[in-house]
Amino acid sequence: MTERFNAAELLAVIAARQLHDDTTVFAGVGVPLLAAALAKRRHAPRLTMVIEGGIIGPEIAPGRLPVSTNEMRAGHRATMLPGITDAFLFAQRGFVDVGFMGGAQIDQYGNINTSVLGPDYWHPKVRLPGTGGANDIASLCREVIIVTAHEKRRFVERVDFVTSPAWLRGDDSRRAAGLRFGGVSRVVTTLGILGFDPDSKRMRIEATHPGVSTDTVRGNTGFTLLEAPRVEVTEPPSDDELAMLRALDPERRFLGT
């Protein structure tokens, strides 16, 4: 990483590039929403954002970024407000192409924990806020992309609790559990882009950011990472991308300092 941009900016730009025009994306507040907004302004003008507060097609106003999926800033200039249940039902029906997710703990199969730390759910060591819509996004979108800082404590061999299912225990276990659709395709991190082995569904390195070695990626991961046949190097955020992104968050509410 150079000094031209910080970690949040890098994540937002790389995540934005994953989105295509004429598609729909389920985005939460913070970096995912910034990434979707950037994509829409830059290369995907016919992208539709869906927010779990029951909001479709909002336009995020610069300097008025929402802090929750259930507030007026999230609903700003929306085209439809169908309610929470119906917003998720659009995803269940197959109408949501991509879901963006974060996560406190992520395992080698892409499963995410945002519920509890420790072995006993009813008496947890740390009680986290819970799934919110994360489990639904992970279960229902055509494709899920995790966007997260790359830290060893976050990338664990086994999550304490599977809040949001990706490939479960690998191989065919997701489909066998009745999750007939979707799954996590990529994990965009501050060090690179991870994917999954098509058969075993174990996480693998698919790209690194410029100046980041695969060893650095491994060293910041709490389990053994596989490697794609060809590991790419990502294109760094352009001045253009960064300028557009920064214009969306002039107060640096989510992009940080």
Binding site: D21, D22, T23, T24, P45, R46, L47, T48, I56, G57, E59, G75, R77, A78, T79, M80, L81, P82, L89, F90, Q92, R93, G94, F95, D97, R142, R180, F181
Partner: protein, 323 residues
């Protein structure tokens, strides 16, 4: 023609989901012509029809489908009115999925329904009003069935091929109505922006569910509004643009059926239509098709057959009735 007629493709939620995934879900331009919109309908398609009875029937779209001489269609609609008779008489529909069919009480039991169904030429698959509504809703939700307490114990069970399901919590047995995923949805709405975000006034019928359940969604609208207008009243939008494939601006697009607050149905026209059938039998529908469907090339030519004064009177009455 055995029973039941229920077809696995109609409740196959996995196939329906795959088609939805493959669909281009765009926030872009949807405006096109009736002809281009209807070109997406294929022989043999299952066509879900919006509105109910003689309210908000997508008449312009249906007329265009008849003009395209489609064959072997299934029409599904909760209460089927004379648009269903036209499809039967034109040889366009071989199967009707509905809860009720006729124009309405003052015009008696449909002789066309009787003619085509009693002879076995057209199959009528009958579901209760709620059950058919739940079939569309299951489709809209992307699930293969919904549990309900209706239709149980009646002879409709066998006709539709209705199955039951055991509630895993209480152990009680409920009816399980199968999802209905139409190939095409035809809808007429009050207003839409050019990106296909649709708003409906008054009673919403089942259009929102039918749109979400279908693979291809064709919409006509009384009015095209700006995107600004959509964004000013987002809580009025019932169908999001990314679900819509084609949108056509067709004022009076439901006539001679009604559009809430905009125009009343033309009851005189129904009376003329049924009188002709009373006098000359099913052949009268053939004549009607020539005069109203195959004859006038454009929808405006069709409306000219009624005349501006007649339309204006219905518009005036609608305002009075919803004031």
């Amino acid at each position: 023609m055995g029973d039941p007629h229920l077809k696995p493709a109609e409740y196959d939620f996995i196939g329906a989901r795959e088609r939805a995934e493959a669909k281009r879900k765009s926030a872009g331009e949807k405006l096109t012509s009736l002809e281009e919109a209807v070109a997406r309908v294929r022989d043999g398609d299952h066509v879900g029809v919006g509105g109910c009875l003689f309210s908000r029937t997508p008449m312009a779209l249906m007329r265009e489908i008849l003009r395209h001489r489609r064959r072997g269609l299934t029409l599904s609609r909760n209460l089927t009115c004379n648009e269903g008779e036209l499809f039967m008489a034109a040889g366009a529909a071989s199967r009707i999925v509905t809860a009720w069919m006729s124009i309405g009480l003052p015009w008696g039991v449909s002789k066309i329904l009787r003619h085509y169904v009693e002879s076995g030429a057209v199959a009528l698959e009958e579901w209760s009003h709620l059950a058919l509504g739940l079939r569309f809703r299951a489709g809209a939700m992307g699930v293969p069935f919904l549990p309900t307490l209706t239709m149980l114990g009646s002879d409709l069970v066998g006709v539709g091929g209705l199955k039951t399901v055991q509630d895993p919590y209480t152990g009680e047995t409920l009816a399980a109505v199968p999802a209905l995923f139409p190939d095409v949805a035809l809808l007429h709405v009050h207003r839409a922006d050019r990106f296909g975000n649709c708003q409906i006034d008054g009673y919403p019928h089942m259009d929102a569910d039918i749109a979400r359940a279908a693979t291809t969604v064709l919409v006509t609208t009384e009015e095209i509004v700006s995107e600004e207008e959509t964004r000013r009243y987002p809580d009025r939008t019932v169908i999001p643009g990314f679900v819509v494939d084609a949108l056509v601006h067709v004022p009076f697009g439901s006539f001679p059926h009604e559009c809430y607050a905009l125009y009343e149905a033309d009851y005189d026209h129904f009376a003329e239509y049924t009188a002709a059938i009373d006098a000359r039998g099913p052949a009268a529908v053939g004549e009607y098709l020539e005069r109203y469907v195959y004859g006038p090339p454009a929808w405006s030519d069709y409306l000219d057959l009624f005349g501006g004064e007649r339309l204006a009177l219905r518009a005036k009455r609608a305002k009075e009735l919803t004031r």
